[in-house]
Subunit: 364 residues, 2 copies
C-alpha cells in the first residue's frame, strides 16, 4: 500500500470483509444494508457497519467498530464512512478501492457518488492488484479448510453410485446428493448444479422433473463449504452404459487435467497451464467450449483469481489453490467437463480433491 | 418508464436478472463474470451475458441473447453492452439504472465508468422507484411459491422439538435442522442463523461448538428456498425451562406481531405498521434493538423493499408479501425476536408462515 501511495483500503463485499476481519454470516443475503471495512496502511481494520452486526464483529479481531442504525435510506452509513475515511486518509492521499476485474462495490451507486463528493480532499484509486495479490496465495489455515471440504465432497462423490438410480428425477438426485454432503459434515452446499441425459451443454443448470434413464450421463458440480471455505469440482457418471463418444471425451478431459497436474509448479504461468491442457483437448477433438477458461483460483469464494486462459499470464506461486477444469463440446450439443482442486507446493501440486477415475464410471 | 422518459432499464444482479428473465442458477456465486439484462420500454428483455449462460438463457422467455467469451479482463462485455444499449436508447434519451437504497451494480467500477464514457450520447438515471414498485407487489404465482416454502419451514419448526436435545452442540443442531428442511422438500437453505444460551444479542450468528444446556433458549432464523422464492421467519424454544423474563419477552414480541396482523391491510403505511408493533414493544419494556426495522418485504430475496420503520411510509398494497419482525433487548445482553410472513389481501392479511404459539415453547 505504501509503495502505491495508498493510505487505506476500502472494501464492501462479503468475501473481502470476511478476508480482512473474519466476520462470517449468511446475513449478506439481505441486500438492504451496506457494510464497509477500512484497512489503514498501518494498524488494524476499522469496521463501519450497521448496528445489527456490532455483536458479531466484536467477536472478530477488529477493535474499532463504528455503527449506524440501518436501514436509513436518507444516509445509510455514507456520512459515517466519509468521516472515518477522512480520519485515516489525510487530504491529498488516496483511498484504494477494488475497481477491476472480478470486483464490484456492494453499495448503491448514489451512495458511491455521495461518498466521493464528501471526500473531495481524498483520491479514490483502483486497488484490485493489492487485494488480488494477497488473496491468491493462501495460508496454511486456509489450505487446510479447503482440503477438509474437498475431502468431504470426494467421499460423497465416491458414494454417489449407491445413492442414485434410473427412474429417479433430477430433483430427487439433487436432494439426495445435497443431504449426503451435509450429513458428511459440510456446513452448506450453496453451489450445486447438474444435468442428466445423453446430450447436454448447459453446465450451470438447476434440477428439473426429468426422469433419469439408462444410458444417461449425469454431471454434478458442487461448491460445498466448510468453515467459510469452498470446494469446486465436478464428476460425471453414466447409468448402465455410455456410448463411445462420451467415454472418449471423458478420457480426453481426464488426460487434459493430467497434463496440467504434471506441469503445474511455482514459476509457470496460468497461460502455460492453459496451453498444456488445451493441447490435449484439441488433440482429442474438442469443438470448443463456452466456459471461457480451464480453471481458476479457489478459497473463500467458489471462483477467485487467477483464471487459466490464453492471456492471463499470472505467475503461479507456492500456496495458490487452483482448479484445473478442462471442458469441451465433444459433439454438437454434448459437453464434457472435468475438474480437480489442488494446492501448489514448492515442487509441484498436492491434490485437494481425490483424483477422479481415469475412465467414465458406470452406475449399474 | 415512458412517464419517466426512460428508453430502457439496465440491471446486473441475480434477483433483478431473474425477475425480468426467469434465469435461475447458483452460478452467480462466481464473482468472475458480469451479467446484464436490458429491458426496453417496448418489447422483450435483451440479455448481454457470458457465453456460459447462453444455453440456460435460451430456455427462458428471452429471445435476444448476445454473448461474449468471458472472462476477458480487457473487455468483459463492456463494448457489447454499450453497443446494445445504443441500439435501444436513442441519443439524448435515458438508460434507467438502479442507483438507490438496497441496490448495487454488480460490475467493476472501472467497467461502469467505461460504459458511461462509451455511451456519451445517452444519460444514465436512477430507476430504483420503477423496479421497487414492480417487485413489491407479487403475482399469484410468486405468492404461491412463497407460501409453499413457508409451509415446509413451518412443518420443520413444529417438528424441531423432536430433533434437538440438551447435550447437542450448536453445529449438530444446525446440521439436523438444515437437513430436515431439505428432506421436507426445500430446494436449499441458504440462510440459517441461530444462537443458544440464556443470554445472547447476536441474531445473525453461525454455529459454534457450544453444548446446549438445560435452561437455554434456542433461536433459529431461516430463509429457505423453493423454486427461487424465500421464506424468512424465526422461532424460539427453551430447553427444559425458561426464566420469567424470557417468557414475558416472548409474549411481548408475539403480541406486537398480533397488533401488526390486526391492523395490516391495503392503504395503511409501513410506518403505521411499525408504530402499532413498536407501541407493544415499548409497553413491554423494550430496551431497543439493533435490527433497525420491524420487518420488510420478502420474495426472490430474503429481504426486499419495503422496510417497516418510523420513516418508511410506504403505502401497503394488495399482493405485497411482508414479514412482521418485532425484536427487543429485554434485559442487558438478552435479545428476543419474532417473525411471521404474510401476504396482504383486499381485507387484511393471510398467513404464509403458520402462526407461532403464544407462549414460549419448552423442549422437554
Amino acid at each position: 500500500m505504501e509503495k502505491s501511495g495508498i493510505a487505506a483500503l476500502l472494501v464492501s463485499t462479503e468475501p473481502e470483509v470476511r478476508y480482512f476481519t473474519g466476520f462470517h454470516t449468511p446475513f449478506w443475503q439481505s441486500p438492504t444494508r451496506p457494510w464497509y471495512v477500512i484497512i489503514p496502511s498501518t494498524g488494524r481494520p476499522v469496521a463501519v457497519i450497521p448496528g445489527i452486526g456490532r455483536a458479531m464483529m466484536a467477536d472478530t479481531w477488529v477493535e474499532d467498530i463504528r455503527t449506524w442504525s440501518a436501514p436509513n435510506p436518507d444516509d445509510d452509513g455514507v456520512s459515517l464512512l466519509a468521516a472515518t475515511l477522512q480520519e485515516f486518509v489525510p487530504p491529498g492521499e488516496a483511498v484504494g478501492v477494488p475497481m477491476g476485474h472480478e470486483t464490484h462495490m456492494r453499495m448503491p451507486l448514489n451512495d458511491w457518488n455521495a461518498l466521493v463528493a464528501e471526500c473531495d480532499g481524498q483520491r479514490f484509486v483502483d486497488t484490485t492488484d493489492i487485494i488480488r495479490g494477497l488473496r491468491m496465495v493462501k495460508s496454511d489455515v486456509e489450505i487446510a479448510k479447503t482440503a477438509h471440504i474437498c475431502g468431504i465432497v470426494s467421499d460423497a462423490f465416491e458414494a454417489l453410485p449407491n445413492l442414485l438410480s434410473v427412474g429417479m428425477t433430477e430433483r430427487e438426485a439433487f436432494q439426495r446428493f445435497r443431504i449426503d454432503i451435509l450429513e458428511r459434515g459440510a456446513d452448506d452446499v450453496p453451489y450445486l448444479v447438474g444435468a442428466t441425459g445423453r446430450d447436454f451443454v448447459d453446465v450451470i443448470k438447476q434440477p428439473s422433473d426429468r426422469v433419469i434413464e439408462g444410458g444417461d450421463l449425469i454431471m454434478f458440480d458442487t461448491g460445498s463449504m466448510w468453515d467459510g471455505y469452498s470446494s469446486d469440482f465436478d464428476r460425471y457418471f453414466a447409468f448402465g452404459h455410455a456410448d463411445e463418444d462420451a467415454q472418449r471425451a471423458y478420457r480426453t478431459v481426464w488426460e487434459s487435467t493430467e497434463a496440467g497436474l504434471e506441469m503445474l509448479r511455482p514459476g509457470v504461468t496460468t497461460t502455460d497451464l492453459w496451453q498444456a491442457m488445451a493441447d490435449v483437448l484439441t488433440a482429442g477433438g474438442s469443438l470448443g467450449n463456452d466456459v471461457g477458461r480451464l480453471g481458476h483460483g479457489l478459497g473463500i469464494q467458489l471462483t477467485e483469481w487467477p483464471s487459466n486462459t490464453a492471456t492471463d499470464n499470472t505467475v503461479v506461486e507456492e500456496g495458490m489453490v487452483l482448479t484445473l477444469e478442462p471442458g469441451m463440446t465433444f459433439a454438437p450439443g454434448r459437453m464434457m467437463l472435468h475438474e480437480e482442486n489442488v494446492v501448489v507446493r514448492a515442487d509441484g501440486v498436492e491434490m485437494l480433491s481425490r483424483r477422479a477415475a481415469p475412465a467414465l464410471p458406470i452406475i449399474d
